[in-house]
């Protein structure tokens, strides 16, 4: 029992409620939310260090012991994700202070921002399937509000589809929970892992596993189910798009990794090969979408899809090195993707557009912005010594070791196309003739860059300190590949 585990869920929730009362006072809202997000970052780092040193921590809520009560479990993977969500939460919040319109602030932007973080952290820390559903819903309802906030024609149209698709996915989630409860009689992750291993009818569990893959794949934008993502992420302003691009799809990926390393490990020849095939297709079609676009934010949105494929590829190969690579990749991608979306917001603030054909020459007028964007773009494309290279390297190496040459070829090709489309942004937006006016060129954006600097610095650090960080992700991979550690720490308190 350790009550520290509940803090990353409780703090944003309480502060979110508190902020509703200050909806009309911008100053107080900003002060409270800024302070809270920094505090939350501190708490999550402390929790991660604690878990790293002391092993997996659990809380049985209301002292109802697992498997009967609700448990929260903080293992190394979960705490790492909580740190990443807190980092993105802080930078997007400080970016939002400068870019979000005061109408949005008045209409409860900050409360829903914190409810979103509540849901995300809850989904990472929860120890049973139904609470995963509940925290998914908390997160999704907050995201519905954030995505439609502003109420332009485009936003209403696209968020209607986003909401409808996610409700449909949630319904399938309940159906999956129902079937799994019928088959095993429990919903606690650790207990499920034990009982699924005991169960003799593997066909039923395979069917349920595919149903869950469908549900989480819809939230995490896997191959046939990603169509909703590029358009809905295009609508909201950059701070919200960065938060979504960094965090929301990763919650789906986290759920896939959690369930398919802990519960559905009975028949990897079937399930994990399907995941691997989906990973290849996701990567390929996502990057094709990115190559075909001519809009800053749309290219980035399509890239989310293709890079989700890399993470799932690590799970599909299913060795220690591959899982470690996937975990490294998640960390790298959350940071870089949030940074790139914030860059899109900064350039939009200067030029007033996200269409690449109407931009140009930003390198001359805003060199800092341009070069920092260049670093992040290269990191995303996987150029050494930045973080993208090492994470992809581990994935590709493990693919070679396992003899999965097709997926490795696809991954390398996708890396090349990623580089191509990032260079397209750089060439069109930053090189060439200056297309924005002189008054726009004189705009100072130093304060806008401040929230992005930590992210760029982090991607450089993740690259240069690849050795210790890779050791850490290997340890995380060890922990999630050996479910007995998780099961023991939850069930034997």
């Amino acid at each position: 029992m350790n009550n520290l585990v509940i803090l990353p869920i409780l703090i944003p929730f309480i502060v979110g409620v508190l902020l509703i009362f200050f909806a009309k006072q911008h100053g107080i809202q900003r002060f409270i939310s800024g302070l809270t997000s920094l505090f939350l970052l501190g708490i999550s780092i402390y929790l991660a260090i604690y878990v790293y040193q002391e092993g997996i921590q659990t809380v049985a809520l209301g002292s109802w012991q697992a498997p009967f009560g609700i448990v929260l479990v903080a293992d190394m993977f979960a705490t790492m994700m909580v740190i990443l969500s807190s980092i993105v939460g802080v930078v997007c919040l400080f970016f939002a202070f400068q870019t979000i319109s005061s109408e949005r602030e008045k209409f409860y932007f900050y409360p829903f921002y914190f409810f979103l973080i509540t849901g995300v952290n809850g989904a990472f820390l929860t120890g049973d399937l139904f609470n995963l559903f509940v925290f998914f819903e908390v997160m999704l309802i907050a995201s519905y509000v954030l995505i439609v906030m502003g109420g332009t024609k485009y936003q209403l149209r696209e968020s209607l589809k986003y909401v409808a698709i996610n409700i449909f996915a949630s319904i399938l989630f309940i159906v999956g929970v129902a079937y799994l409860y019928a088959a095993t009689g429990t919903l606690n992750f650790a207990d499920l892992a034990v009982r699924v291993a005991e169960l003799e009818q593997q066909g039923v569990i395979n069917a349920i596993a595919i149903l869950f893959l469908l549900v989480f794949g819809m939230k995490g934008a896997l191959f046939p189910l990603y169509f909703w993502l590029p358009r809905s992420y295009y609508g909201p302003p950059a701070a919200i798009a960065a938060l979504f691009g960094g965090l929301l799809t990763k919650v789906g990926i986290y759920a896939i990794m959690r369930t398919f390393t802990l519960i559905f490990t009975h028949d990897p020849g079937f399930t994990h090969n399907i995941i691997l095939a989906l990973a290849g297709l996701t990567m390929f079609f996502g990057v094709l979408g990115a190559v075909s676009q001519f809009d800053f934010k749309r290219i980035l949105s399509y890239h989310i899809i293709s890079q989700v494929g890399y993470m799932v590829m690590g799970l599909g190969i299913y060795t220690q090195l591959a899982i470690a690579g996937a975990i490294y990749y998640i960390a790298h991608h959350i940071i870089v993707k949030a940074a790139l979306f914030l860059f899109a917001g900064a350039t939009q603030k200067i030029t007033g557009t996200t269409d690449l054909k109407q931009m140009g020459g930003l390198l001359k007028t805003h060199p800092w912005l341009a070069w920092m964007f260049f670093i992040s773009a290269m990191s995303l494309a996987g150029i050494p010594p930045l973080s993208g290279f090492f994470s992809k390297f581990a994935l590709i190496l493990s693919g070679f070791e396992e003899g999965r040459y097709i997926i490795v070829t696809v991954a390398l090709l996708v890396g090349l196309l990623t580089l191509f489309s990032m260079m397209k942004i750089f060439i069109y937006a930053f090189w060439g003739e200056q297309k924005h006016s002189e008054t726009q060129a004189k705009q100072k954006i130093g304060s806008l860059l401040v929230p992005i600097i930590p992210l760029v610095a982090l991607t450089i650090v993740l690259g240069f300190a690849a050795e210790p960080i890779f050791q850490y992700s290997l340890q995380v991979a060890d922990q999630i590949l050996d479910p007995s550690i998780y099961i023991n720490s939850v069930l034997k308190e």
């Binding site: 509940v134 209403l156 209607l160 909401v163 449909f168 949630s170 309940i174 129902a178 409860y181 919903l187």
Partner: protein, 112 residues
């Protein structure tokens, strides 16, 4: 009883799917509502409809009903209630802004 409930769930899913696949905005909302009702009933049915007494310590009955599915459904119903209300508001606002409830006309083109 379980068979009957399963058929009910099947019918709800069928009608819900049919409504989702039509063009009208309001039918989409209704379809999603029916689907979520079906999912909730499925959750109740899948856990087994036992004829036991309420799960209270003082009852001392031979059989007890499983309280967990009820708790899960209660949560799921509350969530789907809230989400449906929100979906209705968005659908209404979309209808007001776009002056149409035809989903075909809400497709939108790539270059806008």
């Amino acid at each position: 009883m379980e068979i009957l409930m399963s058929i009910t769930v099947g019918v709800l899913f069928m009608v819900g799917t049919y409504l989702i696949l039509t063009k009208s905005l309001l039918r989409l909302v209704l379809g999603l509502m029916l689907l979520s009702h079906g999912a909730h009933l499925l959750l109740l049915t899948m856990a087994g409809l036992k004829q036991g007494s309420p799960p209270l310590l003082g009852e001392e009955a031979a059989y007890y009903a499983d309280p967990l599915p009820q708790a899960l459904i209660l949560t799921a119903i509350v969530i789907s209630f809230g989400v449906t209300a929100f979906l209705l508001v968005i659908a209404y606002r979309t209808y007001k802004e776009h002056k149409t409830d035809d989903l075909d006309k809400l497709r939108g083109s790539a270059d806008e």
